[in-house]
């Protein structure tokens, strides 16, 4: 029993779980809705910046991006680059004004901007859709990782992860979630820093290994035992180092950039984080901190993918690692390299990092969706005025409901592609909330009807273009259809608003609130 516990992967995972329980216990006192949903707006830029980065850098980024670079080369690196753009745009156009506005949820912004319960309802629908599409692949990833490293069943993985989330977010609220997210981010980054340090120390310099990979053309030794046809895997270094695998032409690449870069601005769990700072200045610094962390993280992810490829092509890793790299899929690349570079202890830290990534991202989605259910639906449509205690209780009940709903969703998507679902979440966000927030903050002419039409049309068009792409002509079939859905979202808001022309009578006062320096500290 003790020897099992001292095995690094169990040791680090239990250490992570113990820390989560301790932080959650310390943050359990949530006496008001402000405490539960926005952590009492008390987080400084360092903590919140770490939490934003923790929220943004999911398991798909921690494990998947290095894996993608390992397998498809330059296109994997370009995909990583596309993820790095959005936070910067968010920092420039949305972070400060959103904090000055200072509400509880994303739907609050839409409802208060137009003084409309209808707009709130539609916004809730979109929040739940985006969060659902984002939560499903995270749960899928969690179950796969549990299965890979601890041999558990898929169903157990889903139930376990949802149970942890119910405890973690339900008890700790935004306070516990933020502190846990910040800690979890540094576990992941710590694992990456150690891996990068070990790789450089081992002489795997970037220019040298890239050169070795691009010059390698032929069969990879010692892989035949793990392939279906019993032959060694063929590798072409020149093809690996050039583009054309992920996107077949220039237009698809532009579509990918538009979808992923603008999608970040509309992700509810990221937007929500800017309400938790004490001031707009802190919100902007948090965003800057998150961008710095994310940039370093993405840089390391690509480098580690290259390191993995170089080690793999040498073909002299131990058979178990070679098997994992051939048959384990993209998610096995980072753990495999960790084992090669730092043995079982580094592998243990990486496994804990993978869980940290899943918990961190899922908790953000749980808190954003619980706000939509408890604050936007229950409290806003309740006939009587709820006390602070009742609002917190409603938030906790919403977490429980979401745990069950997301759990069912996770069980349904067992065979789905993680990348497909994540792309769907980004596309829906880019085509719905991004136009609403950009126009809402910077254009007085947006009307309630324009906003509702934009949200609905953006949601429907983006879902259609992803789920029913096969019904469209080949020229309109995109992996990330941002090039079509995002302009449709923006144009719908603009055209309907121009036709409607009925703007809120206090729109000037709204603009003063979100832009004026007087509302710097709310």
């Amino acid at each position: 029993m003790i020897s099992t516990f001292l095995e690094p992967k169990y040791f680090f995972t239990f250490l992570l779980m113990g820390t989560i329980v301790y932080i959650t216990y310390l943050s359990k006192k949530n006496s008001s809705a402000s405490d539960f949903f926005v952590g009492g707006r008390s987080f400084g830029w360092f903590t919140n910046g770490s939490a934003i980065a923790g929220d943004y850098l999911s398991a798909a980024t921690f494990l998947g991006l290095a894996g993608l670079t390992f397998s498809i080369g330059y296109d994997g690196a370009f995909y990583t680059f596309s993820f790095s753009i959005g936070l910067t745009l968010l920092a420039i156009f949305v972070a400060g004004p959103l904090r000055r506005f200072g509400a509880y949820t994303v739907a609050d912004f839409v409802a208060y901007r137009f003084h409309s319960k209808r707009a709130r309802l539609v916004a809730v629908l979109v929040v739940l859709s985006i969060s659902g599409f984002y939560a499903a692949p995270q749960l899928l990833g969690a179950a796969q990782i549990l299965s890979m490293f601890f041999g558990t069943s898929y169903e157990f993985g889903i139930i376990f992860t949802c149970s942890v989330m119910i405890l973690y977010v339900g008890v700790g609220g935004m306070k516990g979630t933020t502190l846990n997210q910040a800690l979890e981010l540094w576990i992941r980054l710590g694992a990456f820093i150690l891996m990068v340090g070990a790789a450089i120390y081992g002489g795997l310099h970037y220019d040298k290994i890239l050169s070795a990979i691009t010059n390698f053309t032929g069969s990879v030794a010692n892989t035949a035992a793990f392939t279906e046809d019993g032959k060694d895997i063929a590798a072409n270094g020149q093809a690996w180092a050039t583009s054309g695998v992920l996107t077949p032409n220039f237009l698809h690449t532009v579509s990918l950039i538009i979808g992923l870069s603008l999608g970040t601005i509309g992700l509810p769990h990221i937007l929500l984080r800017f309400y938790t700072n004490p001031s707009a200045k802190a919100a902007r610094k948090s965003a800057l901190m998150a961008i710095g962390i994310a940039s370093v993280f993405f840089l390391f992810a690509v480098y580690l993918g290259v390191v993995g490829r170089a080690l793999f092509l040498e073909g002299n890793l131990n058979p178990e690692v070679m098997k994992n790299l051939v048959t384990g899929g993209d998610n096995m690349v980072v753990p495999s390299i960790a084992e090669v570079l730092g043995g079982k202890w580094l592998l243990g830290l990486v496994i804990a990092g993978a869980f940290a990534a899943i918990f961190s991202n899922l908790s953000g989605l749980f808190i954003a969706s619980s706000g939509a259910l408890a604050h936007d639906l229950y409290a806003s449509f309740s006939k009587k005025e709820l006390t602070q205690k009742q609002r917190v209780a409603a938030g906790k009940m919403a977490i429980l409901v979401l745990g069950v709903l997301y759990g069912l969703l996770g069980l349904l998507v067992k065979e789905a592609s993680i990348g497909h679902l994540v792309a769907l979440a980004f596309t829906v966000a880019a085509s719905t909330f991004t136009p609403i927030f950009l126009f809402g903050i910077w254009w007085r002419g947006m009307t309630e009807k324009g906003a509702i039409a934009g949200l609905l049309v953006g949601l429907i068009v983006s879902m259609f273009m992803i789920f029913f792409a096969s019904f469209l002509p080949p020229a309109l079939q995109f992996k990330v259809p941002g090039i079509i859905t995002v302009p449709v979202g923006f144009l719908t808001v603009y055209i309907v608003s121009k036709l409607d022309r009925k703007v809120p009578a206090d729109v000037n006062a709204f603009m003063k609130k979100v832009h004026s320096k007087e509302s710097e500290v709310a």
Partner: protein, 122 residues
Amino acid sequence: MNKEYEMTDQPLGTMDADSLPPLDKETRHIMKSELRTGIGLSTIYYVFIFFIPIINWYLKDFAFSQFWGGMSVTWFLTTIVGMVMAFLIAYIHTKRYEKRLALYDAASHLEEPANNRGGTSA
């Protein structure tokens, strides 16, 4: 008609967009200056971002020529310069914003004594 802003989802009335009075001078100035900085920086950023797929698809020889060891020009731009740019653009924006905030604070402090001149505080 300049109504006070109230955070509520109860209907508070609408007006025709054409009859909207202009924004007050300070808000207009802040929005204009923030938007100018934001659009300027994001234009620079997007020119850089789209430069990469343009060279990848239309100037392949240049994009995939060796730059440093085995690293091609486009690999360097995408994985190293791209990450630095994301931070740099946000950093410049934050610094400019802090500068504007400091100027605003200084202007507010200068106005205070002028407002209090000749009177006593309540």
